[in-house]
């Protein structure tokens, strides 16, 4: 009985292993021409928004696509909660339940490196009237590899400096006519803090945790987290030391930036400045006078930073060709104009202050021209890499030592590099 049990056990083990391995190998299929029968294709796209207006727009675009494409049975947009979007999408893919199309933020590098996405360039170029040359190269850089585009950058939202004019006035401060620098922001912020007790400037979303958002500051020093191909850590070079010295002094010497544990919400009127994406303008309530200006200049000059989101087609899709066609339709010139009311487009033709202001109730055409249109072409993105979650966590653990009054800036940055270098080398 014992031997039989052992053999049975081994057989079960082998079977389970084979099932497990077979069940998860993907076959990278080349997209076949549409020979799908009418009403046979159901497409699903995962998104992280639950905004009613946005979902309604997607639904209407899907409906007009179905009208001209009889093979499509349904197109659904599945809203995954924003906070765990990456994990949920990964679980869907790992569980054999992957969507046909997906939004992606920092997960894009992992997906592209794993060859999980369909190359879009052929599809888009072949679609009549799509206008591939209308795309800004700076917007497609993050989502391309070896000259192929793998995810369409449907949202390119630059970071800008929001200004609470009322608080500045209360402290007797005002912005210089032109050429605003970070040093000036720090000085004005400190003055506001002394005069009103409110915070000076806040890097929104940083919260002493998400350090990749600090790229909105350190780019002004010409620094970056790692080199161009993401293999070498550059956290410990002089430019980064300069940037972090500025930030550290702002918190502990000048009290221009609130320290860890103190929450200040600009949109509730708690701080003089904040650095946030232009799309956050919807949070402005009008309870105080505000202005939105491009990011201040650093010692290395002026710069701009954008946060991007892409959408791509997953290779595991049962209908890659139909999914690709729908994506081309969704991002074509006509629909891009509709989408741009929510998501700043990567198309040059749509980037003008007037066009953007047509759908924007909070910002004027001039403001949009200066903070969006003029910024996107030369912008860098927030640092992105494969294994983003692990790099974020290891970096944060090392960087926590920075936020103490007597921290040794250079030493802490060196420890950040030791923590994340092994991951960059992969």
């Amino acid at each position: 009985m014992n031997t039989a049990k052992k053999l049975a056990g081994a057989a079960a083990l082998a079977t389970a292993a084979i099932v497990a391995l077979a069940g998860c190998s993907a076959s990278p299929a080349a997209p076949a021409p549409t020979t799908a029968a009418p009403n046979s294709v159901a497409l699903r796209m995962t998104v992280w928004t639950s905004n009613e207006a946005q979902l309604a727009l997607f639904a209407s675009i899907a409906d007009s696509y179905k009208a001209t494409h009889p093979e499509i049975k349904s197109i659904t947009f599945e809203s995954l909660p924003f906070a765990d979007y990456n994990t949920t999408l990964t679980t869907q893919i790992a569980g054999g339940n992957a969507p046909d199309l997906a939004w992606m933020g920092d997960l894009s590098k992992d997906l592209i490196a794993s060859d999980a996405l369909l190359p879009l360039t052929p599809v888009l170029k072949d679609t009549k009237g799509w206008g591939y040359d209308d795309l800004l190269p700076s917007a497609t850089a993050e989502f391309s590899r070896d000259g192929q585009l793998y995810a369409y950058p449907f949202s390119n939202s630059p970071y800008a400096l929001y200004v609470n004019k009322d608080l500045l006035a209360a402290a007797g401060q005002s912005l210089p006519a032109e050429g605003l620098t970070w040093d000036q922001v720090s000085t004005i912020g400190a003055a506001v803090n002394v005069a009103t007790g409110k915070a000076g400037f806040v890097i929104r979303d940083f919260d002493f945790s998400a350090w990749n958002t600090l790229a909105t500051v350190w780019t002004g020093w010409g620094a970056s987290a790692w080199n161009a191909d993401g293999t070498k850590c550059t956290f410990d070079d002089d430019k980064m030391v300069g940037a972090f010295t500025f930030l550290h002094d702002a918190v502990y010497k000048h009290s221009a930036m609130p320290g860890p544990g103190t929450k200040a919400d600009f949109f509730a009127g708690d701080s003089a400045f904040t650095v946030a994406q232009v799309s956050r303008a919807s949070l402005l309530t009008g309870s105080f006078g505000y202005d939105v200006v491009p990011l201040p200049a650093g010692p290395a000059g002026t710069y701009s930073v954008i946060g991007q989101a892409g959408m791509g087609v997953l290779r595991t899709s049962a209908h890659p060709q139909e999914a690709g066609s729908f994506l081309a339709y969704l991002t074509g010139p006509e629909n891009s104009a509709k989408l741009s009311q929510f998501f700043p487009s990567a198309r040059k033709s749509l980037l003008s202050g007037e066009k953007l202001a047509a759908n924007n109730t909070k910002l004027t055409a001039e403001q949009l021209q200066s903070v969006v249109v003029d910024q996107i072409p030369g912008a860098v993105t927030l640092p992105n890499h494969t294994s983003p979650a692990e790099i974020a966590q290891k970096g944060k653990t090392a960087l926590d030592a920075m936020w103490k009054p007597d921290a040794d800036v250079e030493k802490v940055l060196g420890s950040v590099c030791s923590a994340i270098s092994p991951l960059l080398a992969k």
Binding site: M1, A16, V19, G23, C24, F82, T91, A94, G95, G96
Partner: protein, 303 residues
Amino acid sequence: MSTDTLPASGSRIPMPTAPPAGVRRPRGAVARRIVLYVALAVMAVPFIVPTIWMIASSFKPLDQIFASPPSIFTASPTWDAYVQAFGFQPFARQYANSVYIAVVVTLLVLLVSSLAGYAFARLRFPGQNVLFLVVLVGLLVPGEVTIVPLFQMFKGVGLINTHWPLILVTALAAPCVLATFIMRQFFIALPVELEEAARLDGLGRLAIWWRICLPLAKPALSAVAILTFLASWNLYLEPTVYLTSPDLFTLPQALTRYTDAYGGEMWNTQLAAATMTVVPVLVVFLVAQRQFVEGLAHSGLKG
């Protein structure tokens, strides 16, 4: 394994006897009694205040949740958080999910563990000690060790994002093994005469189990039912891993999803949902607390 002789089924935990009536208590005893009450009351604070605070705070408007000075009650109670709890997620559906899964798992465990426990206690078959040890291993292996392989196994049969993994694994692995252990302890302690009489009458084992042993096993069965229900109700890692559609979530998973668009906690909604999760089970417990506590005490777990 020690085989404790259990008190007969249905007996209560014996209480120490009180001094006979009419005997005057020495004065020091009253003071000591008061000290005891005070000590117990102080110690009870962290056990009961969080629950009370949770229930009370779920009725507060959002801006009063973190008010200082703190107060349990609010001047303007509102049902807003409760309405939001249902609107933000399919909460009613998720509640039903947790309930039906727990019920199904409990019934399955009662069946499987009482059969297995009876067999290990009463029947003789070759290799039974080895098999019992194999089963016990199921108690020692943490869920985190098996979850990834199980995920792959269920993916192979296309059962990801369904409730099947939650039901099958919980009903046959760890909580069931503990239940089998408890049932075995109980059956070992049961007097054999009743069964032997039935066997002479020609009753088969299954009939003996069903008609004689099960009715006698009520305390152990209720202990098993309670422990298993709670184990299934509390599952957190498994639903988080297997389920991606909010419609299928269970309560513990749903409770942690009340975050707004940028990851901030929706405190009052969370507290309302937590209250709705806790209060029914708490009420059942208060009504049946004697069974709960005594079932556990007589479960054989005390060694």
